[in-house]
Amino acid sequence: MQISTGLYFRRRLANGVFVTLSIAAALFGLVWLAFILGGLLVDGISALSPTLFTEMTPPPGSKGGLANAIGGSILMSVVAVVVGTPIGLFAGTYLAEYARYGKLSFVVRFVNDILLSAPSIVIGLFIYEVLVVPMGHFSGWAGAAALTVIVIPVVVRTTENMLLLVPNGLREAASALGAPPNFVIKLVTWKAARAGIMTGILLAVARISGETAPLLFTALGNTGWSWSPSAMNQPMASLPAVIYSFATGPYQDQQALAWAGALLITVTVLVLSIAARLLENQKRT
């Protein structure tokens, strides 16, 4: 009796320790989140001002805004999404609809998942080698190309996953009516998976809006903004790259701008992620 009480006590104790540690782990995560968002809000909000969106990035020691950086980021992201989405969509469609169990699909799936988690700085080096070196200068196109390479795997992965969720009965019904496979895909499965595919695109935008490393030596940076059509052919500022160079510099004004930019990026990314999640949930119900 004595022994079994001791054993019982030990087991209760071990369980108590386990439960406490698990709760502590969750608290650990939450405390960091609060710490990061808190720090970002304190330093970011005090630096926010309307001139952020109207003035160009300043030289050291003077005030200014982030307008050219925001513009550059938006422009390069738009090009990346416009180019990357169709490629990702078609590749994902190939994997899910045309050769689900094929050897090529197996390899593409494997390589795509590697690219999905591959270090983005390596993507920057790749674009530097294939675009910046032959062109002889940094450019907005190179930055957009680097972002495209990051967009594609995200869209491929979500497109394939979402198409796999479409019940086969729908495909069979459409095929039985005599629709060739491309009609089945365009008119039935893409439509059924539309919300999921949109989620993937939003996630891809969220992912690239914070990407810094691949832009450092592809788009480099620029202190002004030009509306000329050749703007993309010149070095182009982007929000993350500007934040990086301002934050690591010694000037107070620039550091404040970096914080404001950091807050902008975080809010953008969190809003996009939440939108993606809402879209996904809407689809499930």
């Binding site: 386990f18 990061i36 970002l40 078609f90 080698e129 060739p180 809006s209």
Partner: protein, 327 residues
């Protein structure tokens, strides 16, 4: 009579034409899908090919000694990768040591212990940690976390451990705030959500019957988790951890801000160091000579090879799991 056959043959011709154009459309569509899929392979091959091409001058100049040399003197054109490789491995190891147990703890909390109402908000909050861009971790780590860490953790720890044999040198030196340990700690926060998300997914695949049977025998929550759930999920948890490791190895901006960018290997974890990705991000645009640039590209190639191996293992483990789940 003839009219009817004429009509019929015209209709037939029309139908054949429609079918042909539909067939052509089908071929075209199929080709587009196929070429998009091949495009993914081309990008991958391009990454490897361009890195190898770019790394050639450095490889010719230093050979395999590149990996074992610590000296990094751009002015004298001597480049050795040992410092960055050490930094990458050590920061990732610190991150894994912290993030694996905590990530599993969070997953267990969310699947088994958390009150139902709190499950969703806490789950989303943890996932937000994965959504915050690397750059933000960097700027926050540099301006907010490092000064705090320097004053409230490093100083007391260095004083307390001064003179203790191994720990004294591991956590010795001056409290800089930034350094290898700070980088590892911030990396651990960044990869936490990956580990907890995968662990949560696999914990949910444990059949309820197994858990109920164990509880029915009078097991405590801990015993059910330790002896039933975790053994059942071990493949998935290892796969998730490898995936997180792949992320940690290649993480750039967060590390660049807080690691200190010093090409040195010091016994103290609090000392500044550098990692492969931080060295590239920090020095690439300033690299003036062909050889300097090539050495940095060779670093990139090394990083890509290391992460490829880790991620490939993660893929294989998780694929196997998915197959098992499908059955």
């Amino acid at each position: 009579m003839t009219d009817i056959t004429l009509n019929e043959s015209a209709a037939l011709a029309e139908r054949v034409a429609t079918a042909r154009s539909a067939g052509a459309g089908e071929t075209r569509f199929r080709l587009m899908a196929l070429s998009a899929a091949i495009c993914v392979l081309v990008i991958f091959a391009g990454v490897i090919g361009s890195l190898i091409h770019g790394a050639m001058p450095s490889f010719k100049a230093f050979g395999l000694g590149f990996i074992t040399t610590e000296a990094w003197r751009p002015t004298r054109e001597i480049f050795g990768a040992l410092g960055p490789i050490y930094g990458t491995l050590v920061t990732s190891a610190i991150a894994m040591i912290i993030a694996v147990p905590v990530g599993i703890g969070i997953a267990i909390f969310l699947t088994d212990l958390c009150p139902r109402i709190l499950r969703r908000p806490i789950g989303i909050a943890i996932e937000l940690l994965a959504g915050i861009p690397s750059l933000i971790y960097g700027i926050w780590g540099f301006f907010v976390f490092a000064p705090w860490f320097q004053a409230h953790v490093q100083e007391p720890v260095i004083t307390a451990l001064d003179g203790v044999p191994v720990l004294g040198s591991l956590f010795g030196g001056a409290p800089y705030g930034i350094g290898v340990f700070t980088a590892g700690l911030i990396l651990s926060i960044m990869i936490l959500p990956f580990i907890s998300a995968v662990t949560r997914d696999v914990l949910e695949t444990v059949p309820h019957v197994l858990k109920e049977a164990a509880y029915g025998l009078g097991s405590t929550s801990w015993e059910v988790m330790r002896k039933v759930c975790l053994p059942f999920c071990s493949t998935g948890v290892v796969g998730g951890a490898m995936l997180a490791l792949g992320r940690a190895l290649g993480e750039t901006m967060a590390v660049t801000f807080v690691i200190g960018n010093a090409h040195r290997i010091e016994p103290s974890l609090f000392a500044p160091g550098t990692s492969i990705s931080a060295a590239i991000a920090n020095e690439f645009t300033e690299a003036t000579s062909e050889l300097y640039r090539s050495a940095l590209i060779e670093l990139g190639l090394l990083l890509f090879v290391i992460t490829f191996i880790v991620l490939a293992c993660a893929q294989l483990l998780l694929r196997r799991l998915e197959k098992a789940k499908g059955k």
